[in-house]
Symmetry: C2
Subunit: 324 residues, 2 copies
């Protein structure tokens, strides 16, 4: 077990919790007596699929944008993301009356472009084959004097994401283990900071798809590994690597990393659908997948963060159509 | 507005609430800021899709079976239902250590038979083309000295189903309108009894599919109308008619009935999936369908009972595949 003294990082999570109060939803914690009986454990699911925009990303985005000095915020903000973070920044921009630009690949699904534009953000498209989204966003930042709100590698984003685990632990009390999906590591490092301070004996485990195991390899070797557009169904974990800020935090605060096969991810999505009647995207189902797959011991008091529920109809249909 | 003085029926709902406490789940009430903004109303969803066995039916079944004298219960219970009520009776039978028989048509989906048998009930199959389930069940009742737990036309079933609306009103306070799905009328009459006593100025509206409008016609004419195996996607409302007990209760306690087209039902299932990230079966989506369709005025404080979430993969996939 790592030495997890409360740090200035934990103070930042506490401040974020104050900042988002009454703006982010205090999402419910759900349980399943069927699952508990099968495992012989007590499992507590923190339902960030029921958060605004359907994912935990709202927490970090609200914290980071609200924290900006007002004159800076008035100049406008920008981000690059075709996923949940882009929608979160767009919604917060609207809530705080802040001009918002979201840079998205021109081949992003029309539904995502229109959802982001629907929140009032300006969508700037780029050619994903020939252009770099970071460069486009950085150029726009300079030209228009905008502030960049990156998807995970930012202290206020990490602190904001940590508030979900904080709420979970406030409700459950101490836990033996906490399972957290890992993409860029913002949710994982934020959760580990919060749980490390609130329940020091709790083992904090990051979970990745086997097909996108860069963070697991980085964690084991201490050197940053990358993946390039991995073919996992868990699209929220297709980020190329942990970040400059999140990698050291994961090394410091996380106890272990585990990977799960695609089949276990789909089994978990189906369990949420059929047994718990909630819609969970594949990335959001990683924690339960680790339990179903036996990747982690299924006993004691276990917290699981469900990161999001944004799964389109065709993907859900293909998962439901597989053999139970 | 009808005169709704608290009656002995309301006392029965209060007793049922005591009886099921700690055995049925106290399901959450959910809201959607998107929907509220679109309608200009405050809508409160009572999520019985998150109830045990995925539907409100657990409430009535537990109340009716728990209320039996112990020697009668020990002899065993029987019901006929291929749907949620059958599973509810099977689960309660297991919880109360009571021998349970569920009569199901031989063409019922294998998943429903195995789910019911999985709760430890004995499944007795009959030929749906040539035999009557009521007769088979009645014969078995006599032969084996079992007690019949019918799906809706029974005072303890009605009282148990009323506890969902009671919990909703305890949480929300007074409402202007309450929308309740109507099949055999157990949930509707129970809800109307509870809401009539707790929020007398609340208009209680039963909602049916246009394709299965027997209760609406019965309500308007005062004479019992029937449908035979109506082709609605809302399978929970395919019951042939209101019952001997529920019809007079609906006439006495319900303020109005409305019907909705199949399209609105599917739109509502999709709204729950995409915007609220919960799995709701078509019958459970009738209340929201009435709001989306403009069948009822969308203003003020509105309660909606989501009756269940048992929708199989192929049906959900076909609904998600339709145009938004």
């Amino acid at each position: 077990m790592k030495d997890k003294k409360p740090s200035e990082w934990y103070s930042a999570v506490c401040e974020a919790a104050e900042r988002i109060r009454g703006h982010a939803l205090h999402t419910p914690v759900m349980t399943s007596s069927t699952l508990d009986a099968e495992l012989g454990a007590e499992v507590f699911f923190k339902c960030e699929n029921l958060q605004k925009i359907g994912a935990f990303k709202f927490r970090g985005a609200y914290n980071a944008i609200r924290k900006l000095p007002e004159d800076e915020r008035k100049q406008g903000i920008i981000t690059y993301s075709s996923g949940n973070h882009g929608q979160a920044v767009a919604l917060v921009g609207r809530m705080l009356n802040t001009p918002t630009v979201v840079v998205m690949p021109d081949n992003a699904p029309e539904t995502k472009k229109s959802a982001t534009a629907g929140y009032g953000a300006k969508v700037v498209e780029y050619n994903a084959e020939t252009e770099s989204r970071e460069e486009i966003a950085t150029d726009l930042c300079r030209e228009r004097n905008l502030t960049m709100i990156p998807p995970y590698d930012h202290p206020a984003i990490v602190a904001g994401q940590g508030t979900a685990a904080m709420e979970l632990l406030e409700e459950t009390g101490k836990l033996d283990m906490l399972l957290v999906p890992c993409g860029g590591g913002g949710l994982l490092s934020g959760s580990a900071i919060a749980a490390g301070a609130m329940s020091p004996e709790c083992r904090i485990i990051g979970v990745e798809p086997e097909l996108a195991d860069d963070a697991t390899r980085s964690f084991r070797t201490g050197e940053l590994h990358r993946v390039s557009n991995p073919p996992t169904i868990a699209d929220g974990t297709r980020t190329p690597s942990l970040g400059k800020i999140t990698f050291p935090l994961v090394l410091e605060y996380v106890d272990d990393m585990q990977t799960v096969p695609e089949k276990a991810i789909c089994d978990a999505v189906r369990f949420f659908y059929y047994r718990m009647k909630i819609v969970v995207e594949p990335s959001g189902a990683l924690g339960l997948a680790a339990l179903i797959n036996g990747s982690v011991p299924g006993n004691g008091r276990i917290g699981v963060i469900i990161s999001g529920g944004n799964i389109d109809g065709p993907t859900m249909s293909s998962i439901l159509a597989r053999k139970m």
